[in-house]
């Protein structure tokens, strides 16, 4: 890198002379971050496990909504309820009571 920047994937600094991938209008990311595109699990906050997902071949990770659900959370008994509770907790503004 000729100039320092912030990685758009991990939000960490990329220093001068480090290798980064830059695109006009999009930003810069670490080489390692560019290789590992994975959605986040909204319920547990961990990676969604995209490489092992049953839909991995049909899910365009760069285009879909970036929060998903991992296999573990999905297989819990009341998964949809947990998902709704997690949304209400992480995005309290969506839990409107007007």
């Amino acid at each position: 890198m000729k100039f320092p920047g912030t990685c758009i994937v991990c939000k960490k600094k990329i220093e001068i002379n480090e290798i980064g991938l830059w695109a006009k209008g999009i930003g810069v990311k670490h080489q390692a971050c560019a290789d590992e595109v994975e959605l986040k699990c909204l319920v547990c906050g961990g990676p969604a496990g995209c490489p092992q997902c049953e839909f991995s071949a049909d899910c365009d990770l760069t285009k879909v909504s970036q929060l998903c659900i991992c296999k573990n959370c999905n297989e819990s008994k009341d998964a949809f309820n947990f998902y709704q509770k997690a949304v209400a907790k992480k995005f309290p503004i969506l839990n409107l009571k007007i």
């Binding site: 839909f55 049909d58 929060l67 949809f80 995005f91 969506l94 007007i98």
Partner: protein, 389 residues
């Protein structure tokens, strides 16, 4: 008992009922919460069926706004926009708390719009009420000028695993289940369109059992019409109708041409044509008033055509095949003869066909005239002679 469509029955009632696009939802809530006169309108961009309209509806409801919904056809020209939006924008305080939602703004394009976009942009520049626009695509030049005066919120397709979570939650509420293979297949076929996914799932679990190799979801119009009339129950017929996702006009036309060209008893034909006429009237009303919510009743009307054992088979043409065949092939041969003879008689083809041709046929019938025709043309003329009175 009325069977509601799942896409209507489970239409989200609050923002937590909607899946995916949490950041987009957060943005629009923030925008509407802080809205004041002059705030930039919002443009929701995303593929069909992911909840743009639902999001706008829920937000309006939760913030106490009265949603005024329009689509591209309502804002086709300047005069129409002023007629519809003028009273709302000029008397906002009198009308309570209006909020304007314009769907499919990317559908306005070309010369036919007569200043529609320009007038809309003028309104968007100085809004007196909250305005939400929705588009499937924002790449055209017209959209670029709309984007300049709005705040764009991108809505992305829902990850398939989240769709599975949602579908399974609904199946659980309905006390139904589908095999993993069928669920995956449904999700992939819906291409992120939640509405379509729910309709297909409902069609599957309401009794109609397709073979897994070729489910009814992929049926073409011919197969669908034939399977509809061969169905074992009204529920199965309804499931087939739901799954036939084509233009409503095409759907009505397909049933009309199939019914009219099938060998039906007079009473059955009359009853079926009445049903098709009713469907046609409701479609006409939808087109006139643009009240697309009425579309859900179309299938309920058409399902009345189902009666077990009815000998209706799909036909693309609204006349029986033997008649079409005669019109097409015999008509061509007769036209050829008329064209040659009209030149010999120095009259127009139409005059010859109307005034001379019947006499030619009489002369041929009474063996006074022999045109020396080949065998196939002679056979056609024989058929014409047979219907002479």
């Amino acid at each position: 008992m009325i069977n509601l469509m799942w896409s209507e029955k489970y239409r989200p009632k609050n923002l937590l009922d909607m899946i995916g696009n949490e950041e987009a939802k957060e943005s629009i809530v923030n925008w509407l919460g802080k809205w004041m006169k002059g705030s930039k309108p919002v443009l929701l961009v995303g593929p069909p069926g992911i909840g743009k309209t639902t999001l706008a509806t829920i937000c309006a409801k939760q913030f106490g706004y009265d949603l005024i919904g329009l689509n591209a056809s309502d804002i086709r020209n300047k005069q129409r926009i002023q007629e519809i939006l003028g009273p709302v924008l000029g008397n906002a305080s009198v009308l309570g708390k209006p909020m304007i939602f314009v769907d499919e703004v990317d559908g306005i394009h070309g010369r036919a719009d007569y200043g529609g976009v320009e007038t809309l942009i003028d309104i968007l520049k100085e809004p007196t009420v909250p305005i939400v626009l929705a588009a499937n695509n924002d790449k055209s030049d017209k959209m670029k000028s709309i984007k300049k005066v709005t705040k764009t919120i991108q809505m992305r397709p829902i990850p398939p695993r989240l769709l599975r979570l949602y579908l399974e939650a609904i199946l659980k509420k309905e006390g139904e289940s589908l095999s993993l293979g069928t669920t995956v297949k449904l999700i992939l076929q819906s291409r992120g369109d939640i509405r379509s996914m729910l309709n297909s799932a409902q069609a599957l679990v309401t009794g109609f059992e397709p073979t897994m190799e070729k489910s009814f979801v992929t049926m073409d119009i011919e197969e669908s019409v034939n399977t509809f009339f061969k169905a074992k129950s009204t529920e199965e017929a309804r499931a087939i109708l739901f799954s036939l996702r084509i233009d409503p006009r095409e759907k009505i036309d397909a049933f009309y041409s199939s019914v009219i060209s099938s060998p039906l008893a007079k009473e059955d034909m009359q009853k079926m044509l009445e049903i098709i006429s009713e469907a046609d009237m409701i479609y006409g009303k939808i087109m006139r008033t643009q009240e697309w919510r009425l579309l859900k009743y179309l299938d309920s009307i058409l399902v009345g055509l189902f009666k077990e054992g009815t000998p209706v088979r799909y036909s693309q043409f609204n006349l029986p095949w033997p008649i079409i065949n005669r019109l097409r092939w015999d008509g061509r041969a007769i036209k050829g003869i008329i064209s040659i003879l009209s030149k010999k008689m120095h009259v127009s083809r139409s005059d010859f066909a109307t005034f001379y041709f019947p006499y030619v046929l009489f002369c041929m019938k009474n063996k006074i005239l022999d045109l020396g025709l080949d065998q196939s043309t002679n056979e056609i003329m024989q058929k014409e002679m047979a219907i002479l009175k």
